[in-house]
Amino acid sequence: MTNLQQLRKGSTPLLILSILSTDKMYGYQIMRELERRSAGYFTMTAALLYPALHHLEKDGLLKSEWQAGPGRRRRKYYSITQKGRNALAASRTEWRTFIATLQKTLKPANGD
């Protein structure tokens, strides 16, 4: 796995919490919303998304409920908890600092 892939994988919980911070959604909806917001840059397989959702729920950062969907099928909706919001706020600050420092470091020096 390349460093960039590792970085992407590491940002999965942050992306999920960020998407769910505005509204409750089901798994497929989260996947599509992520693609839409990142203009296709972030794509996530179900094999990555669902274990991550369940992990976040187990840690108390998300909660879920089954609701009736179209036809006879049910859908499992996820929403963020207060603990999840706190974790998201702290993580956002951390990532902003990381990105700003990275950009500053990568910026070519005068004369380069």
């Binding site: 990555l48 108390g60 969907g69």
Partner: protein, 324 residues
């Protein structure tokens, strides 16, 4: 063409079901229902393609393999942790009998037990790694390391040249333990479960070389600790209690219970250690009192520090999925 896609969807679900066989049937159904619902949502999404076939193919492509999905769920819920416990309990209970049997076959080789120790426990470490179970691998690594440490540091003259081989194995196992602990560095329960017994083993051997002496009479605390130690050792309660504590650590999902189990595990390591009798003869304590007292409470203190650290830090978002 549509039939082929339908079979593919069905095959995917069946393959996922096989991956989830360590879950209860109800849990399997719930997890599979969510994935079925995901596939159905993709098939109904006009943004995924102009016809059903195209939409279905695309959604199937975005699922990822059933194996990685199953591994992901297993990493979250650890449904087969009972098997981990059995892989600790059964060999642990059988080992004394196997050891006696082996020694009766080869009475000339009093050191044969270490070979048997490695022959039985090393495959269990490998099984732990194969099952991606950090507690299982760490438990058996600790057992072998404690034996090898004694051989290479306290009894090296007894084993002669063999010591070199055991020392190399010891270093390899310590590196492996370090690797597993590092891989699980975000889970303090696992970190402490690995570090605490290994740390006590290493510091115990270092202490044996220094052994601060104190030729004074036993005090009340010494006597109580010694009684607890002898009671555990002589009545063979130690195996039963240890396995009960490990069940409490491995089986529940509630982390508070698991931390409690780890505190008990620490206390047991402290009370059970041979230090309590090794340097005590008659009514005279040859080892300084503070060493005894510190020895008993130190592992539990390490565990409680870990618990406090976990409580005080905010939840981490960069959890590692499916690591050993």
């Amino acid at each position: 063409m549509e039939i082929r896609s339908k079979i593919t969807t069905q095959e995917y679900i069946e393959s996922l079901r096989r991956q989830l066989r360590s879950f209860s049937p109800e849990e399997q159904e719930t997890l599979i229902e969510e994935i079925r619902s995901h596939i159905a949502a993709g098939e109904e999404d006009p943004g995924m393609g102009k016809d059903l076939e195209e939409r279905r193919n695309r959604v199937m492509k975005q699922l990822g393999s059933p194996q990685s999905l199953g591994d992901g769920f297993k990493a979250v819920y650890r449904p087969d942790r009972l098997i981990d416990w059995l892989l600790i309990a059964i060999p642990y209970l059988l080992y004394p009998y196997l050891n006696s049997f082996y020694l009766s076959l080869m009475p000339k080789y009093s050191w044969a037990d270490i070979r048997l120790d490695v022959a039985i426990h090393l495959p269990l470490v490998v099984i732990g790694l194969w099952r991606r179970s950090a507690p299982l691998a760490l438990f058996w690594v600790t057992i072998i390391v404690s034996q090898l440490f004694a051989i290479t540091t306290l009894m090296n003259s007894y084993y002669g040249l063999q010591t070199i081989f055991w020392a190399v194995l010891l270093l390899a196992l310590l590196s492996l333990a370090g690797h597993i602990i590092w891989q699980n560095r975000h889970d303090l329960l696992i970190v402490i479960f690995g570090v605490m017994p290994l740390g006590m083993c290493v510091s115990g051997n270092v202490l044996s070389a220094i052994h601060p002496t104190d030729h004074t009479l036993y005090n009340l605390l010494d006597r109580l600790l010694l009684i607890a130690h002898l009671y555990l050792r002589d009545f063979s309660f130690d195996s039963t209690i240890l396995l009960a504590i490990l069940a409490l650590f491995l089986l529940p999902s509630d982390r508070r219970i698991r931390w409690l189990a780890l505190v008990l595990y620490g206390l047991m390591i402290g009370v059970e250690h041979a230090y309590l009798t090794e340097y005590q003869t008659g009514n005279m304590a040859l080892l300084a009192h503070w060493v005894h007292d510190l020895w008993v409470v130190l592992p539990a203190l390490i565990v409680m520090s870990g618990w406090w650290l976990e409580r005080s830090k905010r939840p981490r978002l960069d959890f590692a999925m499916g690591q050993v």
